[in-house]
Symmetry: C2
Subunit: 484 residues, 2 copies
């Protein structure tokens, strides 16, 4: 205590004595991740990255900021949400808004024709934060994209297989993967009499069908200047969903058959559904004609994974019908022209990709853990090296060095003479499974005591067998865990 | 080709037709990491994180920007290198300049008394980039810090053990870890007659002794207003280096004994060297009285790891005596007052930490790989699923689904009917060890061919044994690699 007081005093006197005038907070819409949150985050990333690697992807990284002009004209109205850097002399810079535009810039800049890459990094949006719902101004995106001139729908189907594998592995509850095609939507709008220049507005109205009843969506269409007849016709189509049988039905739809665009989209969806059947996720996929996706750059297949069950029944209130465990959790599609928009000669590279909504996943898993009351370990420590007696610091140091050399994760108290009880408490609090105990009797007989924290069982082990004994026990633990 | 042309045309027409006016580059002083560079980066991080976890550390994360005032008065003159964000309404923000100040802010804000945490993240400095020497405006820092009220030098010694384990594991060549103590330096300045207000200037002159001869450092001291007598006296001390025997010698140095400050530093160094002996890195450590470290916030032990050998003899030119494989590679020290400077009541938490110079490590390893002519794999794919015949896409899809389900890393060409030769070439180029081959004869007999790419050996395997056979072979490979 004496020392703490002195240090505190020193701190107050030292430096600029500016203490107290600081506002101790993170910027609006951002947060720190503490040890527990990071442990969850690492588990999620680990699961996702393993899946990406199982599918042969590598990773790239781009700077957190880009030239301002690289981001210009890419996000429509949302451009106002881009963070700009101050002009401190030199280039005009902005923080990245997503990972797709930097990826396209990278592809064009390096003239890359084929790549399968994932990128997990933070992006920045000066949006109105809704942190209770996991919406931040600094947040992770987690994208995988397959670029190259390939035969239709093979890469697209693999993207959805990847989504399927990840959502299954993370045990987030039931989900459905909706698929549609931008050309399909455009075709529907055209054959129903929607003028070209109103396609985007019609599209954004349709996009709301997952949250609003048809009446409201229709009202919005009328407001935007579509005729009632057109709106009603569109309404019939976009409320359809189904599988291969719906595709067949629409392929022979007299009206739709007049649109080349719609037929091209339909044929690709047919192929996609066929491939997804082989990839064994047929029962998870729904051809949903109301799926529109917000972004402008999609040119073909679009998809969105939606949680339908409630893996967690959290105590968080429903906000506008949203609960933590329900809603969109991944999305993506084909964007064949974006790279070309960066290439001086307009040479494009067809791309398809999907983005996993990791921030929502973190929120769900955090809520799950809270609901379960389970403890999350924030360290991987396997052995704590302790002593019930005074003056055994150097012996503990010798032992821990042996353990580290043998690649055993080990810690010890940073005190000369810590109390036994507090050392054992540390093991329990931190979830450390074993303690190695050294005292005079052990020193005399050249042994150590190995204590299993859970069972409180203690065995005496010759010092020279210590490492092997611990490794054997850890291996048995590991095998048991792997089997579960 | 037809399709490519059409797509390109479409891209030119579509969007804003703004192609060509973009400058395709990353901002000054920044770079993209391509697949190969990322593979190196991941290996380095993997080695480092394994070591951090072996020592029981967890990780936290903080936002990439902080309130501007959080960073104010923390970096002295270097504050001009901080990136500010544009004032877009709301808070004044700056990109983080290091990880230590955000860590201290986090500790104070959450009133944390003890933590062992690592943080690997990018920091930002508007410095003059020297990218050939691995100096960027956006770069990684990789810090581990141990905070808490503990007995002297136990945590400090572990920090150095961590540096030792990491540098050894990365095989960067010979290195030495220099240690000193800020109080020791202050004591030397005091007993040699340097006035208090010139300590910092004297310190920064001494800091150059690793690059300049004593004459030049002395000249700088005189320039800064020290007397020749004082400079010479300081010179005698700061050119000393050694081990425990030097500590003993100085503990009985008549002049130095008059400084409580120097004696406190010396006693801690004595303890540190003793602990490092037990931690088995005695032969790597040098008590080097010229070590000063730039940052203001150190209050006790300071350390720096320096590469001495040349693990690589790269073809890069020496720039001002620097070569890629030589020089400072890690550094740190004790800073007991920084957290207190954020706490409204000045309550401090003693901290010690070390930062691994990962950007230099990337440069060295990249150069090593180039010099060796070794290939770096940018994917982990184990099996490529191919066919020499047309119309086997769906069979390939069935096979690859089985492999993915069995957690085998597998890819296949995204073409309906790829050429056999190009498929085998892909395996060789990408370093994929096995190919599963399916054709009509295999289909009839319900078998597959398993080809080992290296040896070109092919065996026929019943389809139902495929997964097991591949897993067995991969396990053998893995065991062989682990033994090396």
């Amino acid at each position: 205590e004496e020392v703490t007081k002195l240090l505190a005093l020193k701190a107050q006197l030292g430096e600029d004595a500016s203490s107290g005038k600081f506002v101790l907070k993170t910027p609006k819409g951002t947060r720190d991740y503490n040890l527990k949150q990071m442990a969850i985050r690492e588990n999620v990333f680990d699961t996702i990255i393993k899946c990406f690697k199982r599918h042969g992807a590598g990773t790239i990284d781009t700077p957190v900021f880009e030239l301002k002009e690289t981001l210009t004209n890419k996000y429509g109205e949302d451009s106002k949400l881009i963070y700009d850097l101050k002009d401190q002399g030199g280039e005009m810079l902005s923080l990245r808004y997503d990972l797709t535009v930097p990826f396209a810039r990278y592809m064009a800049m390096n003239k890359i024709q084929t790549i399968k890459r994932y990128h997990i990094a933070k992006v920045y949006r000066r949006d109105n934060p809704a942190m209770t719902r996991g919406r931040y101004r600094e947040f992770y995106q987690c994208d995988i994209d397959i670029a190259g001139q390939y035969d239709p729908m093979i890469a697209d189907a693999e993207c959805l297989r990847i989504v399927y594998e990840i959502l299954s592995a993370l045990k987030l509850g039931d989900f459905v993967i909706k698929v549609n095609d931008r050309r399909m939507l455009d075709g529907v709008f055209a054959v129903c009499g929607c003028p070209d220049e109103k396609f985007r507005q019609a599209c954004s109205a349709v996009d709301k069908l997952d949250k609003l009843p048809w009446e409201d969506v229709k009202a919005e269409m009328l407001e935007k200047g579509l005729t009632e007849e057109t709106a009603d016709k569109i309404g019939v189509y976009v409320q359809m969903s189904g599988g291969q049988e719906l595709v067949e039905h629409l392929l022979s739809d007299k009206l739709l058959m007049t649109s080349k665009c719609a037929m091209a989209g339909l044929n690709d969806i047919k192929l996609l559904l066929r491939y997804l059947q082989i990839y064994q996720l047929g029962n998870k996929v729904s051809f949903d004609m109301s799926l529109a996706r917000g972004l402008d750059y999609y040119t073909g297949a679009i998809f969105e994974a939606v949680l339908t069950g409630t893996a967690v029944n959290t105590n968080q209130p429903r906000i506008k019908g949203e609960t933590v465990g329900v809603g969109s959790i991944a999305g993506g599609g084909r964007y064949d022209n974006l790279v070309g928009s960066f290439d001086p000669k307009g040479r494009s590279v067809p791309c398809v990709g999907v983005s996993i909504g990791v921030e929502r996943i973190f929120s769900i898993l955090e809520a799950q853990l809270k609901a379960d009351g389970r403890k999350t370990r924030t360290n991987d420590t396997e052995v704590y090296v302790i002593s019930p007696q005074k003056n055994f610091l150097e012996e503990r140091m010798q032992i821990i060095t042996e353990l580290w050399k043998a690649n055993i994760k080990a810690e010890m108290p940073y005190k000369r003479n810590p109390k036994l009880l507090s050392q054992l408490q540390t093991c329990e609090e931190r979830g450390i499974p074993y303690a190695v105990i050294i005292a005079s009797s052990e020193k005399e007989t050249n042994t150590v005591k190995l204590r299993t924290i859970d069972t409180r069982e203690e065995v005496s082990i010759p010092r020279e067998n210590m490492v092997k004994e611990i490794k054997d026990r850890l291996q048995i633990c590991k095998n048991n865990t792997d089997q579960n």
